[in-house]
Symmetry: C2
Subunit: 181 residues, 2 copies
């Protein structure tokens, strides 16, 4: 076997960063190839097509979620909520670039000059963020919120991993009304 000067791993590394930065549709095969230092044709030697690259990037997330669900299956109440927070923060940190991909196109649109800086209004909402709800909308709410945390943290990679993990866990627990132990 000839030495692989440009490996699959290099391609995946370039792809996940570019997808996270410019979105899936906003990243061309040529962009990835240039970043990885190889030709576009080399990409399609290692992967059947562009979509297969994204598929491989997202593939590990599914089983990890399934495993977390399994760990939560036997738990109830506060213990379950605490384990869910810990597990989700851990997953979000390990797959933070993947999560960023999901939010990239939102980023691109939300930063358009026609749209307002929503901070001032949201500030007032968060002044008294609390309450309880089992309405179906809130599940989407909570899911998007978790993604929102990662969106913020993903661009602050200078923060040490462990510090970030502790901060996120503490913030999530506090927001859920659980003791931050």
């Amino acid at each position: 076997m000839a030495r692989a000067t440009t490996t699959r791993a290099d391609i995946l590394d370039s792809a996940v960063r570019l997808f996270a930065a410019h979105g899936f549709r906003g990243t061309s095969l040529q962009d990835i190839a240039t970043d990885a230092g190889c030709s576009k044709a080399s990409l399609l030697y290692h992967f059947t097509n562009k979509d297969a690259i994204l598929t491989e990037l997202l593939a590990p997330v599914g089983p990890e979620f399934a495993e977390l669900e399994g760990r939560l299956a036997g738990l109830r109440g506060e213990e379950a909520a605490r384990a869910a927070v810990t597990g989700l923060v851990d997953l979000s940190l390990r797959f933070r670039l993947q999560v960023k991909i999901l939010l990239q196109d939102v980023d691109a649109l939300i930063n358009r000059p026609e749209l307002p800086d929503a901070d001032h209004i949201v500030e007032r909402l968060t002044e008294a963020l609390s309450g309880r709800s089992d309405a179906p909308e809130v599940r989407v709410w909570a899911w998007m919120a978790m993604l929102g945390i990662i969106l913020t943290s993903a661009s602050e990679c200078v923060i040490p991993e462990e510090t970030l993990r502790a901060e996120l866990t503490r913030g999530a627990l506090r927001t859920l009304g659980l003791p931050t132990g």
Copy 2:
């Protein structure tokens, strides 16, 4: 002036629906023209380019937000939070297709088979959704959450306007820990 058989309003109506359904990048000028029943060249007679269509669609949102901010400027505490909820729900309903545009690409990616159905995990998070935080992440959190509400409600347009408005307002107030009076 010749009679406008295909007006600017028709084009904008087609565009906002298609952008909301398939995203900005996922909608071509030809798609819009076909839906509006005119030629692609006619689009570019009424609008300087594709981006100008999106710009015009998003344009009214900014001033409305600014006006809401002005109304909130003199308020404090619970009164401010309540007015913010009412105003945001109202804005979200009036511009629900615009908001859907922002979330469309998230939709496309989040429904990939490699990704898990996050409902089971999020269920446990929402079991005890409460708490309080003034961390900077939470502003993004709250903003994404508000978008999440709309994402859910936008696909349920069969619900009467007033019912939806009341439900959203009540849910938001309850989640903020304010009396739903």
